[in-house]
Symmetry: C2
Subunit: 330 residues, 2 copies
């Protein structure tokens, strides 16, 4: 079959457990895929070799029909400016890793790196709910909370590459202590999947209210279980989502008054809770906004499939072709 010669990119999503790889085109189609273990490689050098063995055959497969113009990687704590992964708590390779440099050198193809939430935001910008928008926020609600901020049609990085750590902004002074950062009262401690489970355990402890949540050991409660109890009509579980949405909505109102986005796109595992979370979030966001901002911001869920979106987002880094990104001479 004849295929038009086209510009292609590699998108790589490095997660704590697995690394997903895809060859993408400008239309956001994933033409070929691979997956390797992240956790199974003791050193980053081993990981790069495994990546090469999985990806190089795909690259060769497309050599006659397209040009692979770059490799884009989304990874926890990935820094766009420096190409480094710095002290990522969820990866087993310690310290500072010059990942973009290693990948560029191994493949002979320019590689750009950013963090996972920024990659999600790029995915939304090019292929998701952010298409055609110049100003929006993406909030990823998973085990932790990440964020990517688009202003004037561009993802912002700040002076050092770390802009958009909204999960660590403080929403309750004197509140919950974060299990890793030690910061007190951050958004992540309340509105991540982890935070939802903590809220459920706290509520169970504080009252004697009957609840399906009491059917399992408190420490086994996770946000998925809270959701399952809530859709069965369990009052305490419903209250957990109301509370989570209240705090998330309040936080979003503050973010809106910072950059005045057209939309906020929620992404990640927690959004499976749907209107249970969305309804109180929207209500409390509006309530805490100046009238100037009210009833203007579209609060929506991502429409991209989780795994695909991360590959597409990482690959989109290549389309950005920014001169500011870390680049190694090849």
């Amino acid at each position: 079959m004849y295929k038009a010669y086209q510009k292609l990119a590699v998108g790589i999503d490095i997660g704590g457990t697995n690394t997903k790889i895809g060859i993408i085109n400008h239309r956001g189609e994933i033409l070929s895929r691979a997956c390797i273990s992240t956790v199974g490689h003791e050193t980053v050098e081993d990981f790069i070799e495994a990546l090469y063995n999985a990806l190089q055959p795909l690259i060769e497969e497309f050599e006659s029909t397209g040009e692979i113009t770059g490799i884009g990687i989304g990874a926890p704590n990935g820094n766009f400016y420096t190409g480094l992964i710095e002290y990522a708590p969820n990866l087993r390779w310690n310290g500072t890793i010059p990942l973009a440099k290693f990948v560029t050198e191994r493949f002979g193809i320019p590689c750009s790196l950013t963090n996972d939430a920024n990659a999600a935001a790029l995915g939304e910008l090019y292929y998701g709910a952010g298409r055609g928008m110049k100003h929006f926020l993406v909030i990823t609600l998973g085990t932790g909370i990440g964020s990517g901020i688009v202003i004037d049609g561009k993802l912002i990085y700040g002076h050092d590459g770390y802009a958009g750590e909204l999960g660590h902004t403080i929403i309750r002074y004197g509140g919950r202590k974060h299990w890793k950062t030690d910061l007190v009262g951050s958004l992540e401690t309340y509105c991540s999947a982890t935070g939802i489970a903590i809220t459920a355990r706290e509520m169970l402890k504080r009252t004697n209210q009957e609840s399906l949540l009491r059917a399992i050991e408190p420490e086994k409660i996770n946000s998925k279980y809270v959701y399952e109890c809530a859709i069965k009509g369990d009052k305490l579980a419903l209250k957990v989502f109301k509370y989570t949405g209240k705090l998330l909505g309040e936080a979003l109102a503050n973010f809106v008054m910072f950059s005045s986005p057209e939309a906020i796109i929620l992404f990640g595992g927690v959004i499976k809770s749907g209107e249970l979370l969305m309804k109180p979030t929207r209500k409390h966001m509006e309530k805490n906004l100046l009238p100037l901002f009210q009833n203007k911001v579209k609060l929506v869920f991502s429409e991209l499939e989780g795994a695909d979106s991360a590959i597409l987002g990482a690959g989109s880094l290549v389309w950005e072709q920014s001169s500011e990104a870390f680049q190694v001479a090849i």
Copy 2:
């Protein structure tokens, strides 16, 4: 005297009481000045006529030596995209005023409008502490709190022109009710000059502690008086600044984790309190930042003279010559 033909701009700072006017050049020199009353003109049409009578002679004076390329105006609630002043609580003209259009038509010179805090940020970008920086925030601490946000060397406006209303972000849920907005616990209710006076009154009421602050009627206490008592060593007054700085620092930490600026520039009447405010602010900002952001952000006071800075900032709008600004065909 021979003067080189140069590009000039008019900068106009519309305050609640007075309107200050200046002709500026690219080097940030104010070549000529005028001032008219804001409050003394019942209708905006009267105000425009007074502005014309004061400014037109200055424009004519420079006709032979320079080209006035535009008029830039900073005003409360001024919107860059629409050229409108919308419901400014401190101006006596009610409703929505198409100020940029009126000025453009009266003078036959393109006029751009923005709000006063954004004008201050532009002043810092071109002529103040923000020179050479691509990412910084300006927080104006006066009767109220305003802000201007510079990202990638550009002032951001958001999708509707209202980005940067950081004074209205909520820092204490369930806290103080704002006297105008009815929002509860906003930064402005605590850290503006008005907020400082409220804190002093609250502290006086809560304790019987001896204090110089008790020498005058509670309702006559303003932030200047609190400052005067504090530099005399009054313990309660000192506590007011410590508390204000704590809350301001916490809020600034959240702002840093949004856009990761190189600097935060504090501006406005309240900064006369100097280290009394700066010391606790810096301490609590650092304390609430992820380690990733610590000891990186320059927290500084503006070096521009109050009145000049507003004229220079408003005039700088003309240098921006953005296609996004509101423009009327002449």
